[in-house]
């Protein structure tokens, strides 16, 4: 599988390194070249400095043949925009987006995107450790 990952922060670098070790073709994109220092020393994929919401950049890195696209930059809106470009303009079959702000989850759903909120996942896990009953009773839901 050819996977494009936009954003080489801690999450992006970790996913990229794991996917590459797992035998996938990985291309990771970041606007800042020093971000690639976070990758495994023996990272076997490709690194490209560039902006993932620029269609020219996406075309140049071969998004038209990508099987999957992951957007995990620091900016929720940047991720939303890049994911929509990948999904609706380049028809990438598997598109997934990291977002911080749970309030934006609705926006994502309305736009037909698959989003994973790291904030919600981490908070739920913390609650589970602090008071497992809350999770079982279904109280740890997002009320936004």
């Amino acid at each position: 599988m050819f996977v494009i990952i936009m954003g080489c922060g801690r999450v992006g670098a970790r996913v990229a390194s794991a996917m590459s070790r797992g035998g996938h073709e990985v291309l990771i994109l970041d606007v800042n070249a020093s971000a690639f220092d976070r990758l495994d020393a023996d990272f076997g994929g490709t690194t490209v400095v560039g902006n993932g919401i620029d269609m020219d950049v996406l075309r140049r890195i071969g998004i038209e043949r990508a099987d999957a696209f992951l957007a995990c930059t620091q900016g929720d809106n940047r991720n939303i925009m890049a994911s929509q470009i990948a999904q609706h303009i380049f028809n990438v079959s598997k598109v997934v987006t990291r977002i911080y702000d749970p309030l934006r989850q609705d926006t994502f759903k309305a736009l037909g995107l698959e989003a994973i909120s790291s904030t919600v996942i981490a908070a739920d896990r913390f609650i589970e450790v602090l008071d497992p009953d809350l999770v079982q009773e279904g109280l740890a839901v997002d009320r936004a």
Binding site: I53, D54, M55, D56, D101, T107
Partner: protein, 219 residues
């Protein structure tokens, strides 16, 4: 008319000011509290502090009854999301997005936002009108010689578009060394066709620059 202006930078500020002067009801939504206070000091209580890309904020701003939502922050991705939320969730009658990268007009259109305004495009169009379109771009002069390397872009309407290189009457001495076509570099043969959009890289003497321009660009 009730207009929500998302983004209180310079564009948002002057847009709001003009709209108020024209008698419209305006609300500026600005996420930075200090900037919001500055605008309020100058334009009065028509400012709301909060991130306009959040549905909650747009709802509180009254996006449902807005006749127009203008997303004019400095970031294209923010403007896209603001317009999409206003349209999809609150059925705003009309949305307009400011864009910085002119190529985003196409993306926005495909993602359902039809009205975009690009300052970059406006400036470009002024430049294009004022510059003579058909000109040779000097790239470099070879050391201690009279020989220049120039570039000519083959525009629409060019008399040589579609012809083979052998059929183009070039002044002598003069050579078309390379053709740049999209991302490709072509070392032309006599049979190589010349297409609209090609960048022709030519070697010529200074003396022949005028005749070459005439031959390639029809000036």
């Amino acid at each position: 008319m009730y207009v929500i202006v998302a983004g209180g930078g310079k564009v948002g500020f002057y847009l709001a000011k003009e709209l108020v002067e024209h008698g419209h009801e305006v609300l500026v939504v600005e996420s930075d509290a200090r900037r919001a206070a500055e605008i309020e000091a100058q334009l009065g209580s028509i400012v709301m502090c909060g991130p306009a890309d959040e549905a909650r904020v747009l709802r509180d701003a009254g996006a449902e009854r807005a006749d127009l939502v203008c997303a004019v922050t400095g970031d294209d991705e923010d403007n896209l999301v603001i317009c999409q939320v206003a349209k999809a969730r609150f059925h705003a009658s009309r949305v307009i997005a400011r864009i910085n990268n002119p190529k985003n007009a196409e993306i926005f259109h495909k993602l359902g936002i039809d009205d975009t305004v690009s300052a970059t495009d406006v400036v470009l169009s002024v430049i294009e009108q004022e510059l003579p379109r058909q000109h040779l771009i000097p790239l470099l002069r070879l050391r201690h010689t009279d020989v220049e390397v120039v570039e000519a872009i083959v525009e629409e309407g060019s008399t040589i578009a579609g012809r083979r290189l052998r059929d183009v009457a070039l002044p002598k001495p003069c050579t078309i060394a390379v053709i740049l076509r999209d991302d490709a570099v072509i070392f032309p043969e006599p049979d190589t066709p010349i297409l609209i959009g090609d960048a022709l890289i030519a070697f010529t003497t200074s003396e022949n620059e005028g005749p070459l321009r005439k031959a390639l660009l029809g000036e």
